[in-house]
């Protein structure tokens, strides 16, 4: 029916590996997309060496936003935070295998990355600049 809803997206939406909450956690952040009400919270546990040992996301939203969160967390476990900070918008889109997302759906795809980065940087709120590509 649609090339946007590739199997990997439907699969991660329906059977996410990283859905849940971590309590206690070292880093936790939550935000929503005011356009559609999608909401994502991400919790991380980080060891003394600054490496992500566990990650979980919760909240609700469309298949794109939820699958994106699951794939993103899959990609950061066992990685140092310094490396996680460098994940770009394009990296995430590559994980999703999506190209040419329209401006509205792009926000769905990038919500998890915004939440993750705002959490790691200890910011009070997310900002679109966190996921903008450096030109």
């Amino acid at each position: 029916m649609d090339d946007l809803y590739r199997e990997v997206i439907i699969e991660h939406y329906k059977n996410p590996t990283y859905r849940g909450v971590l309590d206690p956690h070292d880093i936790s952040f939550e935000d929503e997309n005011p356009l559609c009400g999608d909401q994502i919270r991400i919790d991380l546990r980080v060891n003394d060496a600054g490496v992500v040992t566990e990650a979980a996301f919760s909240g609700h939203g469309c298949a794109i936003s939820q699958a994106s969160a699951d794939l993103l967390l899959e990609s950061i476990v066992n990685k140092p935070l310094e490396e996680v900070k460098k994940i770009s918008k394009q990296d995430l889109l590559d994980l999703l295998g999506l190209e040419n997302l329209g401006p509205v759906r792009l926000k769905c795809a990038l919500l998890s990355l915004k939440v993750l980065k705002a959490g790691i940087y200890g910011l009070g709120e997310t900002d679109d600049l966190l996921v903008e590509e450096e030109e």
Binding site: D2, L4, C36, G37, D38, C62, A63, I64, S65
Partner: protein, 410 residues
């Protein structure tokens, strides 16, 4: 097919409806509640104005200025007649419903309400009839109360009756919900409010495009609506106000055209309706709005309402056959052409996306009514809405596409 409108003929009046999308799929436009499509008469009226007449209004004495003024004021008169106003001067042009409600909140309410005064709203309001009053509540200590919405999607009028004992100064409500489709008993709500001594404001953004609305018959004090939801252009709307109320209100925005006389330190306001229309208005849009009203009158508001009623009943039947699909809002008799629903296991955003790929335009989200969605415990819904140009075949296409979406996520 409906007996009341020649929908095949009507569709030819809307150039956009022959557009094809995504590999030659016909556009199925089911998002008129967000904004309606425009007939060629509206587009041409605005084009003709710019090609033949363009001039600023009210001041110039040259031919173009006179023609432009006549076209602008002529549209006002036809719009006034369309809603049953006694005088054209009771029709104030604004940008849209939102600005109309803000005008009442800034001008009427700030003059007439003091700390502790009660304003009654409802749980089914669009943000445009909530936020202006929340701003006022913060600023002035106004107390907001809400008529609850029942599980079936109707206003709980018994609770309303009790709320009226608080002697509210204002009751502001939507005549038709943009999510539930519920048509509220406006006349009854207004009569009850008046008996309690309150002034009333109708958010007519959804009702005026789809139902015959007569301000005198309703006893309305204020009525707000937008052109773009009734086949007219964006950027132009109306605040209808009872003349005595408008006369007693201070100006909203200050500037040109709203004054009679200005000195360096003072001004005296112009007469109605100009007192509330500061600056050069959206002239072409007003002329387009007039053409939209002409078009709706020609089709007949009763016919439009009957067609939408029939198509909505059919849509509710078709959609409720889909397992896992849950509709919100009342039964067909009590609502206009709006069907909001959820589907088990598929987020509304994904539904809207999948439908789009089949050429079907619907809306997904909270439809600027977050508190209403909170009331039903839903983060979002998918909404299909109908207008005079929609067909029963389009409802079938919608239902079939939803079945396919279900399979994909199944």
């Amino acid at each position: 097919m409906s007996q009341t409108l020649n929908v095949d003929q009507i569709r030819k009046d809307f150039p956009i409806l022959s557009r094809r999308l995504h590999g030659n799929k016909a556009l199925v436009y089911l998002d008129s509640t967000a904004t309606a499509q425009k007939p060629v008469t509206v587009i041409r009226a605005m084009e003709d104005y710019y090609n033949q007449t363009n001039a600023n209004i009210h001041r110039g004495v040259h031919t173009l200025a006179e023609e432009a003024t006549a076209a602008y004021e002529g549209a006002r008169e036809r719009i006034a007649k369309f809603i049953g106003a006694r005088h054209a001067r009771e029709v104030i042009f604004t940008r849209n419903t939102t600005e109309s409600i803000n005008l009442v909140a800034y001008s009427w309410a700030r003059k007439n309400l003091v700390s502790g005064d009660v304003v009654i709203l409802t749980e089914m309001e669009h943000h445009s009839n909530l936020v202006p009053w929340q701003i006022l509540a913060d600023e002035r200590g106004i107390r907001l109360e809400f008529i609850p919405v029942t599980e079936e999607g109707e206003l709980d009028l018994l609770t309303y009756q009790n709320l009226l004992e608080l002697r509210p100064k204002l009751v502001a409500f939507s005549q038709m919900s943009n999510v539930l489709g519920t048509i509220n008993p406006a006349r009854e709500i207004i009569e009850m409010a008046h008996r309690a001594g309150a002034v009333t404001l109708i958010d007519g953004a959804q009702s005026v495009p789809h139902l015959p609305v007569d301000v005198q018959q309703l006893g309305a004090d204020f009525l707000a609506f937008s052109a773009h939801k009734m086949c007219g252009p964006t950027g132009i709307g109306v605040l209808y106000g009872r003349r005595d109320l408008l006369e007693a209100m201070p100006p909203f925005l200050g500037g040109g055209d709203m004054i009679k006389r200005v000195t360096l330190r003072s001004f005296s306001p112009n007469e109605l309706p100009h007192k509330f229309e500061a600056g050069t208005p959206a002239i072409a849009e007003v002329i387009g709005f007039g053409a939209a009203v002409d078009y709706l009158i020609q089709m007949g508001m009763n016919n439009i309402a009957a067609h939408e009623h029939a198509i909505t009943r059919y849509a509710l039947d078709r959609l409720s056959e889909i397992s896992g699909l849950k509709l919100i809002g009342p039964s067909a008799e009590k609502k206009g052409g709006v069907c909001a629903f959820t589907m088990e296991g598929i987020h509304p955003h994904d539904i809207a996306q999948l439908l789009d790929r089949e050429g079907i335009a619907v809306r997904a989200g909270h439809h600027c009514a977050m508190p209403l969605h909170q009331r039903y415990g839903l983060p979002a819904t998918t909404r299909a809405s109908f207008y005079l140009y929609n067909t029963f075949d389009e409802v079938d296409l919608l239902a079939e596409a939803l079945e396919r979406a279900k399979e994909l996520f199944g």
